[in-house]
Symmetry: C2
Subunit: 181 residues, 2 copies
DNA sequence: GCTTGCTATGCAACTCGTTGCATAGCAAGA
DNA sequence: TCTTGCTATGCAACGAGTTGCATAGCAAGC
């Protein structure tokens, strides 16, 4: 498990509330780690108990109060130690691949429906790629002037872009294959 | 959830025991869906209760007996219905990306260790790519003569190959970035 | 005879993640 | 005033997935 560690990285990049973390996990961090607000609040509570983060009440006007969290020295030590551990092999779960192999066991109508679904899926990822490219233009307009943290964020974003491009190419291959059956 | 569906596809491609399924999930199916034997046995039992599969005792010589499972008509209907449902958005969890962004918060020693770990990770995936390419040569030597099921299996394998190639390129980008910090 | 190793199946306990629901502050517009 | 919608936090129940362990057949080698 590493939701704790993803939260530590995000809070080190910028302190924030559980709600703000949830929004970040929907956006930039969601490129490589997903989590819902319920999970985040639960884990934050445990992290506070363990002394990895400290929460501070922040009054806001025009909005409800929030609790902003900051990483403690102990939390940072925990992250540094985790960074040294070997990367665990990923658990791949690609539902679309299962469906594609499953297409061998349905009829023409079923295959036509799957083809339409793949097209929809492709359109979603084309949109996502555009979002990434716009984000890159906005956040990293001049790659020469970035500090270490920004360069690392940029290389992770480039990974997301490379993934989406690869995926779109492969989906075209899938569509050709389904059409030619 | 879709472990049930991955099992249905695998058993439709070829009936087999829980143990055999577990081995397939380590190999070819593991490219796009992972599961341990405990999970598989538990789910198989539920699927048998629900009438999606039927088990049959098979005596073997030189080995313990096994229970070989076959998909029923009802199981096949279940799969076909699932194929029609929209693909759920994937839950991305890329631990390495978290660590790379985390590298901004450790020292030179920590970054050097991470770099070594990325190199090790890259070597693993280079091996995996080779395995895929060998499997492709072995299982799909003549793409013109394949039936529908084999073509679908092949396009899924091509997805795995495309993913590994993309990953290796990106890891080179990551290594350059880490070295230049 | 003993150990090692692969085939084969399974239980129990635990952790992680999802889903549905609940509460509440505040702003903006019908 | 009432509804809609966003910010903000949280509980409870359930389902999925992991980890550790246990059992047993059979083959091969020391």
């Amino acid at each position: 498990m590493a939701l704790e560690h993803a939260i530590l990285v995000s809070l080190l990049e910028r302190p924030g509330s559980g709600y703000e973390l949830a929004r970040r996990f929907e956006r930039s961090i969601g490129r490589f780690w997903t989590a819902t607000h319920q999970q985040i609040y639960r884990v934050l509570k445990r992290m506070e108990t363990d002394g990895w983060v400290t929460g501070e009440e922040v009054g806001q006007d025009g909005r409800p109060d929030k609790r902003s969290f900051t990483v403690t020295g102990s939390g940072r030590d925990t992250l540094v130690e985790w960074l040294r551990a070997p990367v665990a092999p990923e658990a791949v779960r690609h539902e679309l691949a299962v469906k594609i192999r499953g297409a061998a066991f349905t009829d023409d109508t079923g295959r036509a429906e799957l083809l339409a679904e793949v097209e929809r899926y492709r359109a979603d990822h084309e949109t996502l790629l555009t979002t990434y490219l716009n984000g890159e233009k906005r956040d990293f307009p001049d790659p020469m002037t970035l500090d270490a943290g920004q360069r690392l964020q940029h290389v992770v974003l480039r990974g997301g872009i490379a993934y989406e491009r690869m995926l779109l190419d492969w989906l075209d291959d899938v569509l050709d294959t389904l059409r030619a059956l």
